[in-house]
Symmetry: none
Subunit: 402 residues, 2 copies
């Protein structure tokens, strides 16, 4: 984990600009022994030029051998040890939709689902009902009141929503109600005695929700998962002395950025070019931009090797728009690997490119890819060490000791 106390003593103000461009699930493995990965196959002239001019390396997201989810992987990139700081999905999802989560709030991620006449779940996603339908259902659920707490029900996307309770003495240590099989949803169960009253409130809410939904089709029931509270992390802008902004399309990544105290920018469009245009619009307002590209991960999870390579190519093609802003430090990496041959996240270290004109050594690497990164001057290192390196290359850390 980045040593926040040490950094605090060393950070100096500056006007330099840092861009952290994250292609989700960027790392891959070859389709056949000794073949190229998706990144190595992609034609990326701009990234290759940056690789030749800058420094390469590989980052280990959490620990060797550990495959991270998106939340932990991003926390690590931001310098927070994700093993120490475990954040529940309810928190990430609520923050992701822009809900103003307060300390002490208890948030759960909800799924609308379909149950049969015996109450057993037959479709965990209620036929993936459209977002508009979910919005209507959430409106109805807002009628439910609970004693002594405020209740918020917010639609997310498709069949997903958030339930947030606000009040004194709530405790989020409560198990998921999704049985993960064809069975009735479980009651909310407290993991520790202190969470019993909160569990009771949630069960009262579920009971009333069941009544409201019972005649709906196909979304006639719901499950709750990832019950959690904001852990109150040290704020990223304070820790690093950077006015910091998130440019991301997906709620999850906006959520984790808000959790660490970044401003989350609203913008139209969702292509890399749209994102880079957004960075341009706010160039003077912030010192640090986290730009998130999702489809690399999505194509990886689809098992679409060529598709993932094409997404990388589309980012490369849009890159001149970002480079025209002349960032002092540009980092291009992923939060984790999603090899399309595995169709899931993996533990493999993630290729990293750090470009900072006049500030880096040459290395033997001349294009951006996993194998070239092994020749990089940055070596293989923990993702949580990335932000100090970014600050250093941006001239924002003074000497430690005399």
């Amino acid at each position: 984990m980045a040593d926040f106390d040490l950094l605090k003593e060393l950070i100096v103000p500056g006007t330099s600009k840092i861009v952290l461009l994250v292609m989700d699930g960027l790392g891959g493995i070859p389709r056949e022994p000794n073949g190229p990965t998706e990144l190595e196959q992609a034609r990326t002239p701009h990234l290759d030029r940056l690789a030749s001019e800058g420094s390469l390396g590989l980052i280990v997201p959490v620990r060797p051998g550990i495959t991270p989810g998106s939340g932990p992987a991003h926390l690590a990139l931001f310098g927070y040890d994700p093993v120490t700081h475990q954040i529940g999905r309810g928190v990430l999802e609520s923050l992701g939709i822009g809900f103003d989560l307060q300390p002490g709030d208890v948030a759960a991620r909800g799924n609308f689902c379909t149950v049969d006449d015996e109450g057993r779940i037959v479709d965990r996603r209620a036929g993936r009902i459209p977002t508009e339908k979910s919005v209507t259902l959430c409106d109805k659920l807002r009628a439910i009141a609970l004693p002594g707490v405020e209740v918020f029900v917010e639609s997310v996307k498709d069949y997903r929503f958030c339930l947030i309770l606000r009040g004194e003495g709530l405790d989020s240590r409560i198990e998921d109600t999704d049985p993960q099989r064809k069975a009735a949803p479980l009651p909310a169960r407290a993991i520790v005695p202190e969470a019993e009253p909160t569990a009771a409130l949630i069960n009262e809410w579920i009971g009333k929700a069941r009544e409201i939904l019972k005649n709906e089709r196909p979304a006639n029931m719901l499950t709750l998962r990832g019950v959690a509270s904001d852990p109150g992390l040290p704020r990223f802008p304070d820790v690093y002395g950077l006015r910091s902004a998130c440019v991301a399309v997906y709620p999850m990544y906006r959520g984790v950025s808000r959790l660490v105290g970044m401003d989350v920018i609203e913008f139209d469009g969702e292509s890399p070019a749209d994102e880079f245009e957004t960075v341009k619009s706010f160039w003077d307002t912030y010192d640090f931009f986290f730009v998130h590209v999702k489809p690399t991960d999505s194509r990886g999870e689809d098992g679409d090797f060529e598709g993932k390579a094409k997404v990388i190519e589309s980012v490369d093609a849009a890159l001149p728009g970002l480079l025209a802003l002349k960032p002092d430090v540009l980092i291009v990496t992923g939060d984790h690997s999603t090899p399309s041959v595995l169709k899931v996240h993996s533990w493999h270290p993630v290729p990293l490119l750090l470009w900072a004109p006049g500030m880096t050594r040459r290395d033997a690497a001349h294009s951006f890819g996993e194998t070239e990164c092994l020749k990089g001057s940055l070596g293989i290192f923990a993702a949580t060490d990335l932000m100090p390196l970014a600050l250093a290359h941006a001239g924002r850390l003074q000497k430690f000791g005399a």
Copy 2:
């Protein structure tokens, strides 16, 4: 150290098979500047093919610059930080001969020695008396009774034996009695006051043993070293969710395996081929096999460069027998380096080959050797991180966090 708590949450059951093949003291250094090491000189077509297909790296056994003994080096391979978990030789030796050491037992390694008329040690190994002689002497020593404790005397090999005390309130924090020079054996001295009663018992035993041995030749006295108790380590099969077996010839390695809760397989023969045949016989019974090859280390300690290379070649030649079993993950490495030019263990990182079809990236390495390992995609890493990597490549860890 591997994060056992984290792993516990992530381990999923599986049918995959992991083989950890350890050539003791595998790492070497060249005889002349820029020459090959023993491993690089050895003709190893099978290992080279695996290297080309798999991933290479180097492991640091304990800490940079620290030369480990065999016990700590193996604990590290198994994921236990050997600095945190220091195990006395008495424990390792007792476990190694199959003695059923219990929690609370105090075990010491004994050496028969020769003393002159003034009681000074003139041969620390009593002319390396044969094992049969040692067995006879141990039988005689079993006649010694001590108040309030059970006493076990077990022969090991040649001039070596184990003394084990069993009873309430014993404390193993006691110094060695070997003076390491031409002098009389030292009395057993307690390092902490709590160990005074145990030291007194041991000294009573030594006094009676002196009487029994005084007319023997050449083994007319003994010394005790490495007084220790089983530290009660977390059990390897539980920590990693693997039914785990040790296939090793030497007591020491069987001992450390038993210490962490592996099953120790009895088998005939002692060649690599015999060991691989044993793995085959138990292939369905276990998920993890630790296979230990000793002579690489022995030839290294002899200063026999060619001999060490030949041992490596003999392992390579037998390897098809192991590969025919189609392990999902095969790791080939050493516990530490024993460069034959140094004739002792050393601190140099140990070459590592991880072969897991379809799960690894290409790297620029195409044969198995120290220099090629520098090009490997696994980099240089702590030995204690090996087991999580093995589990990951075997598909036995689920994603951490959402």
